[in-house]
């Protein structure tokens, strides 16, 4: 047993070498001054390494260059995880690329605090005011704009209309007690109410995060992170409500070992009609059809229900997206490019060809998919926003929430213990 090939020494060598390599690499990149004959070259770092997005974005860069003959755009594309590591190294070195991909939240705040990011509040006000408000939220830090979105999405319940009908649930529930009721009805009709990827932990965290938003409220989540204290009554209640749900045993058989996108995972369970609901982001229909059969017209979307007596409302959304930020002192051409990238024409092209949700309200007409249209309607009507916790908080805190909530769902931690563990981890992070 035990593969000698993965010896501890090999492992350590790899990890330490990676650490050193990153430090060495951090010397490069970031710089791009004007070239010869007055042309400005701007570097654009993004994570669109997959098709069709890769080609569409390259085409857009060409289009921008054609409109601005004196500007050259150098595209640097990195795969998601590689990008994150590289950016962490660049942040430590103090030099960021002219235009770079950002998810906003805690990481962007770190970069802003280090004085590395351009404040876009005034330079983009003229045109950025018209963008979908909720999409701009992740990049707002202390009421200043540090990034411009090109994509936005949210988490909600994806449900099987046919199974709801079979169980006699006429309309999607809007309150937590209504939701628990629907779960009971589905169960007594012999339908598995919910699919959950227990092995991967993050899908379970969505329940706790939404419940915390509904009970404690979005402001309390922000304050808890600032004060490093998650022990407030609202957070304990959130765990308590989740426990109410878990006690109904609503999940598919063997959910604790289930993955998300595998052929026996969460998405496939819903996609094959073996469970009535899943709590997932706007990408859910695609994964359901990819890992399973997909539900077609039977698939519906409803927002996470409100909790009676809680601080939050049903119109507050939990989600995130993608955007671009500029390094401090980036050339004007970079701001022009952000404007170009957030224009109606560009957004329509992005919505049509790359399947993102529109951030320019006028680009909505390009949205044809009924599921995405439903999500878009929620986003447009949103009255509050909470960024994905793993992006909003430090990595260790995000992971601890995932871990503790998984323990709550598995029955080994109480709601109080969840809040205590998260607080402890938050305090350990300096």
């Amino acid at each position: 047993m035990g593969d000698p090939a993965l010896s501890r020494r090999g492992f350590l060598a790899v990890s330490a070498a990676a650490g050193l390599g990153m430090t060495a690499l951090s010397g490069c990149g970031g710089d791009s001054d004007g070239g010869s004959s007055g042309t400005t070259t701007i570097e654009w770092w993004n994570i669109s390494t997959t098709q069709p997005t890769k080609d569409v974005w390259a085409g857009l860069a060409k289009k921008f260059e054609a409109q601005n003959p004196k500007v050259k755009i150098k595209i640097v594309q990195l795969e998601n995880d590689a990008y994150k590591s590289k950016m962490t190294a660049l942040t430590a070195s103090g030099k960021l690329p002219d235009i770079f991909h950002t998810w906003g939240g805690g990481v962007l705040k770190q970069q802003v605090d280090a004085g590395l990011v351009e404040d876009l509040t005034d330079s983009t006000k003229a045109w950025a005011d018209g963008l979908l408000p909720v999409a701009k939220q992740p990049y707002l830090i202390d009421d200043k704009t540090y990034g411009i979105p090109f994509d936005i999405g949210m988490i909600g319940f994806w449900y099987n209309k046919a199974l709801f009908k079979q169980a006699g649930v006429s309309a999607p529930p809007t309150t937590w007690s209504g939701f628990l009721d629907a779960v009971r009805r589905l169960k007594s009709a012999g339908v598995t109410p919910l699919a959950l990827a227990g092995k991967e932990k993050w899908p379970g965290m969505y329940y706790w995060a939404y419940l915390a938003m509904r009970t404690a409220g979005v402001d309390a989540l922000r304050k808890a992170a600032d004060d490093k204290d998650f022990t407030g009554a609202g957070f304990v209640q959130a765990g308590g409500h989740l426990k109410e749900l878990v006690d109904l045993q609503p999940f598919q058989k063997g959910f604790l070992g289930a993955a998300y996108s595998t052929p026996t995972g969460q998405a496939a369970t819903v996609g094959n009609g073996k469970a009535a609901m899943e709590l997932m982001g706007q990408w859910a229909p695609v994964v359901e059809a990819d890992a399973g059969k997909g539900l077609g017209a039977d698939l519906g979307f409803f927002p996470f229900p409100a909790v009676e007596g809680g601080q939050g409302s049903i119109t507050e959304v939990f989600g995130g997206g993608g955007g671009h930020a500029l390094r401090k002192g980036a050339p004007q051409a970079a701001v022009d490019f952000l404007k170009f990238f957030a224009s109606q024409a560009t957004d329509q092209e992005l919505v049509k060809k790359t399947g993102v949700l529109p951030v320019v309200p006028a680009a909505e007409s390009s949205l044809t998919d009924p599921n995405l249209t439903a999500v878009q309607a929620q986003l447009k009507a949103a009255t509050g926003f909470q960024l994905y916790l793993d992006q909003a908080y430090a990595p260790a805190v995000g992971q601890e929430i995932n871990d503790s909530v998984a323990a709550l769902i598995a029955g080994s931690k109480s709601p109080e213990q969840v809040t205590q563990s998260v607080t402890k981890t938050a305090k350990e992070e300096q």
């Binding site: 593969d3 010896s7 330490a16 598919q252 260790a396």
Partner: protein
């Protein structure tokens, strides 16, 4: 040079980093003393890792290796098609752990998996369970998969050892009137001892370092019930970016391996390593 640069320095660096609160970027600067280690030995997950590690070692020594030995003895007889059997039993060892993991997560998928289907077909539906999803069964299921994958390797070691047992000795015992069990116990087993000792060593070190299989199949879950030290280290080092703490885990792992290896060499392998004993048995080798 290569050894120093790629093995020794990173090891020393990990030891150094274990004394810092360090996020993995830049140089470690926030000295934490032995905090990482005290925290480690108060962490129920890590203590659980140690317990599970011990459990896997014991299970391996009591079940997996004897099973491999039995198969080796069996396949050492004149048996029709024994080459085919040997190859079949050895084949899983050639598969990578990742592939094994994916394969068995399908086999043990609740309801849809092969295991539940087979049990259902022979009327044992009740036994078809949540193999990898039940906290109290996950380690047993994992051990089953480990045995499936590794017993062939140990069997091959034993077969090689058995080939070296001279037929004359067994014959002599037979003539002296020894039964099959006595022949095995008093002739074969002592001559196989050096091979057994090496195989036990590999088995224990393997259990301490178990990672790939667990990561692919369960990621240590449900609720840490199949987590190993290497998995915990990975979680902290590459998911939470608490590299100092992860280094402390790796240092402890290294320490356990080192102590075991040294003690084992000193007390168990000594006889194999010393020239004298081997020459005395030179006849037998």
């Amino acid at each position: 040079m290569l050894f120093i640069g790629l093995v020794l320095l990173p090891m020393l660096f990990a030891l150094y980093a274990a004394f810092f609160r360090w996020g993995g970027f830049g140089m470690p600067s926030d000295y934490a003393g032995a905090d990482n280690f005290t925290r480690l030995f108060q962490d129920p997950v890590f203590l659980g890792d140690l317990w599970r590690c011990l459990l896997l070692v014991v299970l391996s020594l009591l079940i997996q290796l004897p099973f491999a030995l039995a198969m080796a003895v069996l396949l050492n007889q004149r048996l029709r098609g024994r080459a085919v059997y040997r190859m079949l039993f050895f084949a899983p060892y050639v598969l990578s752990e990742a592939i094994t993991g994916v394969l068995f997560s399908m086999v043990f998928a609740p309801d849809d998996g092969l295991a539940d289907h087979v049990l259902g077909a022979v009327g044992l539906d009740g036994l078809g369970g949540e193999w990898f999803a039940d906290p109290s069964w996950v380690l047993a299921t994992l051990f089953l998969v480990m045995t499936w994958k590794y017993f062939g390797f140990h069997m091959m070691l034993y077969l090689a050892g058995l080939q070296a047992v001279p037929a004359e000795l067994t014959e002599a015992a037979l003539i002296d009137g020894a039964g099959p069990w006595q022949r095995f116990r008093n002739v074969t087993l002592p001559l196989l001892a050096p091979t057994l000792r090496i195989s036990v060593f590999l088995s224990v070190i393997g259990a301490i370092q178990l990672f790939d299989l667990v990561w692919v199949v369960t990621q240590g879950g449900p609720d840490h019930h199949s987590e190993t030290m290497a998995v915990t280290m990975f979680q902290y080092g590459f998911k939470r970016y608490q590299v100092g703490y992860a280094s402390a885990i790796s240092v402890v792992m290294f320490g356990i391996c080192l102590v075991f290896a040294l003690a084992y060499q000193r007390f168990v392998l000594r006889r194999d390593l010393e020239g004298a004993t081997t020459t005395m048995r030179g006849n037998g080798k």
